[in-house]
């Protein structure tokens, strides 16, 4: 009950009309940042951070966290419309979101994505409100072995359920791992695969690769298939929103699962990107419509968005209570806290009640405001699809190029993006899956360093992955997920050839 009283106090802090103005400004900016690929939430918040020095810390965090909410919402927009993920955690949204847009269901997909985001965030903020101290302690149990276990679980829950031949999945994934290894090796401090080139020092940024693989690759494909958007005939009106909402309650089990996955990944802190992939993989496995995933299934849009937003929101918890940022944006906000003269850590909740509860209250209001802002713009965004392709394609390409450049302020990244575009095109033509490549590129680095940290700690004994119940159960679960398709195939075969044939 103490939490409730504090929360009401927090809403009191928000009563200052200027804070509400900052919130709407932040959300609108955030949506814009989320829409522009490359200019991610972390960059956006970092750029605007110095502007907030003259504000009170409460107003500053409200505005900056609103940018973060806006970016979380906005990342879905370009994923669905153009197959260009605006943010890393929206990659999984493209898998079904873009096919839906091609079928003329852009409005449904956008509504589903936004609503899923909102549900995820709401679940996470309830968790923050009532269970913050308990959950904060949980995050401390995560050492290198536990982190690796989480990444392994992400890989395993995603692999082993694709329609593509396993050899192709593995080939794509290995390419992703190889690309992720370019640049400095954090464990030994040595340069790897840079071949003496200065430009390769920074490695291959995941965002640049994704903009190329998805965005540019998609444009190349569309050009080949005749210069037109397939979603052109979409009928768009506000009733789409209500119609989509009517479908959502029946996915309650999946929503709950995604929200839990998201919160868990945000707190531990695995982050929003693995959360969205893991949630998509689980939904594909457990949903009745799992076979249709990838062809434009509403569920395939809602689930990763719910998990991503739940993770993004709950990532603030370890930041506030322990000073560990759960996401790159949280890392920048953390820097902001220090600059405003606040010390994140276990005492923040005690010493800075106004600040903490003002922030938590702003998560509630910010997400409601965000949902209103993005939903009212659904028809506008969906209408973009009616612009002739020959007009919009060059604009998209320019936005992609600007985005790729912004990630590291590097001109060469534009060329890298174009090369990835060709790779993306070839992958689609040869029917290689892009997702494992992207997943390996995003998480390969982190998975590798936590594995090697664990090996350093254990002096090379793999037994560290079963050294306590927490890590042991995650690793075992991951391995079960990996071999599950094999097991189910064998079981099906034992049950007679008829079911096996049906499963093909």
């Amino acid at each position: 009950m103490e939490a409730l009283t504090s929360l009401i106090g927090g809403f009191g802090v928000l009563a200052d009309p200027m804070n509400i103005v900052y919130m709407f400004v932040g959300i609108s900016l955030g949506v814009l940042i989320g829409v522009l690929p490359g200019l991610g939430g972390a960059n956006g918040v970092a750029i605007l951070l110095p502007l907030t020095f003259s504000m009170s810390p409460v107003s500053a965090i409200i505005m900056l966290s609103s940018i973060y909410w806006g970016a979380l919402f906005g990342g879905a927009i370009t994923s669905i419309l153009f197959n260009i993920p605006g943010e890393p955690w929206s990659v999984a949204t493209t898998f079904d979101g873009h096919p839906m847009a091609q079928k003329g269901k852009a409005g449904e997909a956008l509504t589903g994505a936004f609503t899923g985001s909102f549900i995820g965030a709401f679940f996470a903020v309830l968790l923050i409100t009532f269970l913050a101290p308990v959950i904060a302690k949980f995050a401390l149990q995560f050492g290198p072995a536990e982190f690796f276990a989480v990444y392994l679980l992400t890989f395993c829950s995603f692999v082993g359920m694709g329609k593509e031949p396993p050899a192709k999945v593995i080939a794509a994934m290995m390419l992703g791992f190889a690309l992720a290894a370019v640049g400095i090796d954090t464990v030994t401090g040595q340069l790897r695969m840079t071949f003496g080139s200065v430009e390769l020092l920074r490695g291959f940024d995941f965002l640049v690769a994704v903009i190329g693989l998805f965005g540019v690759g998609e444009i190349l494909l569309t050009m080949e298939e005749g210069l037109a958007f397939k979603g052109k005939s979409a009928s768009i009106n506000p009733r789409v929103v209500l119609h989509t909402w009517a479908q959502i309650p029946k996915y309650w089990a999946g929503l709950l699962r995604s929200a839990i996955v998201g919160c868990w990944m945000g707190v531990t802190p695995g982050g929003a990107t693995p959360a969205s992939f893991m949630s998509y993989g689980l939904a594909k496995k457990f949903s009745k419509n799992g076979r249709n995933f990838g062809k434009g299934e509403l569920e395939g849009v809602i689930m990763p968005e719910t998990a991503a937003h739940a993770a993004g929101t709950s990532a603030l918890l370890p930041m506030l209570t322990l000073g560990i940022p759960g996401s790159p944006t949280a890392a920048v906000l953390l820097g902001g806290l220090l600059i405003w003269g606040l010390q994140p850590g276990p005492l923040l909740f005690v010493e800075q009640k106004d600040f903490v509860w003002g922030l938590i209250a702003s998560i509630y209001l910010g997400n409601i405001a965000g949902l209103i802002v993005v939903l009212t713009t659904v028809p506008i965004f969906a209408a973009i699809l009616r612009i002739p392709f020959s007009v919009i394609a060059p604009i998209i390409l320019v936005i992609c190029a600007v985005g790729a450049y912004t990630v590291h302020n590097a001109g060469l990244d534009i060329a890298v993006m174009l090369i990835f575009g060709v790779i993306g095109y070839l992958f689609k033509k040869l029917q290689y899956p892009l997702a494992p490549l992207v997943l390996a590129l995003v998480l390969g680095d982190m998975a590798e360093s936590s594995f090697r940290q664990a090996m350093l700690v254990s002096q090379g004994h793999l037994s560290i992955f079963w050294s306590n119940p927490l890590v042991g159960s995650i690793v075992t679960l991951a391995l079960v997920m990996l071999v599950w398709p094999l097991v189910s195939k064998v079981m099906a075969r034992l049950n007679g050839g008829k079911e096996a044939a049906a499963a093909e």
Binding site: S54, G143, V332
Partner: protein, 342 residues
């Protein structure tokens, strides 16, 4: 407490008036010919967003903007590739470009040695040192020892599974150099576990996944206040001056130096500014003056105190002399530890 800070921040404007009033007196007589930036100045951070150097750069950007210290905008750009090599090479390659400055951390010395990427401070023009960052030896509050003596005894006694694990930021950078220096002084062995950031390291130490860390004060202070970590000694040549109590009535000033505790190691990290090669004297002087003004603001002093920095600031020949000495020290430490790329 935040309202008090807001008040201090607001008072900044008044303090600025004083600073600007003093500025003409400080400026030398040739000031009429003084150079000023004619376009946006890029402020390169050779590290990622959210880290110590990035925080300081954005703090400076905010102070400059708020107090109108520059006629042109100052824009922070992160170039973190190759442990900062990307940023330093950019500045090295921008010959005579006065619209670019870079904030340095120890990777100015460690990255070329560890990776073999060719750059040194001599390839750039030194502007001024802003401060030095401290390193403190931290252990979990539950550790059975309270001082360096007890720590070293336990370190030497440990072996096998019990071998002490030192968590640190990055590989073959300042944290690992200090670890290697402790090993060289004592003959004991650590397992060094590299993490991505200082916040991660502090959390891993609280969670008991590593035995010790050499976190900067600002990275671990909140865990100290919460009673999760305890400081054993500071790697400076003198005790810190900050006497305000932090935890259990103890202040930064109460932490003994490692040297007086029997662990004769000194290490401080540079937070300084450099600019591209062949900058003219006028151009360097402009930035030296600018940073003098920045350091005089109450916001900066508040920041120094929060992070328990060593506020030594140098420019001109003293700064170059410091850089020469620091480069030699790093070379010596890293060669002894076997960290130099072949």
């Amino acid at each position: 407490m935040h309202s008090a800070i807001a008040k201090i921040v607001r008072r900044g404007a008044a303090a600025l008036a004083v600073t600007t009033a003093l500025a003409p007196a400080v400026m030398p007589s040739w000031a009429h010919a003084a150079w000023e930036p004619t376009k946006t100045v890029e402020f390169i951070v050779p590290a990622g967003t959210g880290g110590g150097a990035d925080q300081m750069a954005r703090m400076i950007q905010g102070i400059v903007q708020k107090n109108n210290l520059m006629s042109q905008p100052l824009v922070v750009i992160n170039k973190s590739g190759g442990a900062g090599a990307e940023g330093f090479l950019d500045v090295k390659g921008s010959n005579r470009n006065p619209h670019k400055i870079i904030i340095s951390l120890s990777n100015l010395f460690t990255t070329p040695l560890a990776t073999g990427v060719p750059f040194s401070w001599k390839d750039m023009t030194p502007v001024s040192m802003l401060a030095l960052d401290e390193f403190v030896l931290w252990v979990n509050a539950k550790a059975p020892y309270d001082d360096v003596k007890g720590f070293l005894a336990a370190l030497k006694a440990a072996s096998g599974d019990q071998t002490f694990k030192m968590g640190g930021t990055g590989s073959k950078q300042e944290d690992q150099i200090i670890t290697a220096a402790i090993e060289q002084k004592t003959g004991a062995k650590f397992i060094y576990v590299p993490y991505k950031g200082g916040g991660d390291v502090a959390a891993q130490l609280v969670g008991g996944h590593v035995t010790a860390s050499v976190n900067n004060p600002i990275e671990a202070v909140s865990q100290w206040r919460a009673g999760e970590l305890k400081p054993l000694c500071v790697f400076d040549y003198q005790r810190l001056p900050y006497k305000e109590p932090i935890a259990n009535g103890k202040s930064w000033a109460d932490i003994p130096t490692c040297k007086e505790s029997g662990l004769d190691i000194e290490y401080l990290m540079l937070r300084g500014i450099l600019m591209p090669p062949n900058a003219s004297k006028d151009q360097v002087d402009y930035f030296v003056e600018l940073f003098k003004k920045v350091r005089a603001t109450p916001e900066w002093q508040e920041f120094m105190q929060k992070g328990a920095f060593n506020t030594t600031a140098l420019s001109g020949p003293e700064y170059s002399a410091w850089l020469t000495k620091a480069e030699a020290t790093h070379k010596d430490l890293m060669e002894k530890a076997g960290f130099v790329a072949k």
